[in-house]
Subunit: 103 residues, 2 copies
């Protein structure tokens, strides 16, 4: 089964980036127990001060979709929404490399 | 010390994507022994058939720069160059999450 990956670019409202980062890190902490979520790394940009990037790798696409339906995820999205001016996602399919789990 | 990350988008010349993927996977295999290279995942796109994305996380920026100066890396770049129509890199700074190493 193919893995599923995304680069998600969040544009935070001015002054809200760090609060958004904290919500996303809390989400990543919750994902520690979700084995299908293999990578969920929160990144900032040194050149775009309102930008937050999330790098996601899931064992398969359905696991990602299922996570969005969880109450905990929905609550986190509700918290984050007021801080966000825009979101763009690039969908990718991981095929291998270092840090790519075989299972 | 801050970590260093990149999303690198390669546009392969028509028909050359899979050959480029293989060169990048060989590079990732060589990076298995480089502890400062924490993630080097090769990805394709199901909607852009000539696109290859590489997700990189390094323990610090200087380690990435040093890797580019290695003879093995230079040889790999020479192999890949004829297959590549364009490259765009987005520099990011990983701050935490699942799959983010603490060290």
């Amino acid at each position: 089964m193919s893995k599923f990956g995304m680069y998600v670019k969040f544009s935070a409202k001015p002054g809200q980036r760090d609060a958004l980062v904290q919500i996303l890190l809390d989400g990543a902490a919750a994902a520690q127990s979700v084995k299908e979520c293999e990578i969920y790394i929160v990144n900032v940009s040194d050149t775009e001060p309102d930008t937050v990037w999330v790098t996601e790798v899931w064992s398969h696409e359905e696991a990602h979709a299922a996570s969005l339906a969880q109450e905990e995820t929905k609550a986190s999205i509700q918290l984050a929404m007021p801080l966000i001016a825009g979101v763009e996602a690039t969908q990718i399919r991981p095929v291998g490399g270092k840090g790519y789990s075989i299972a």
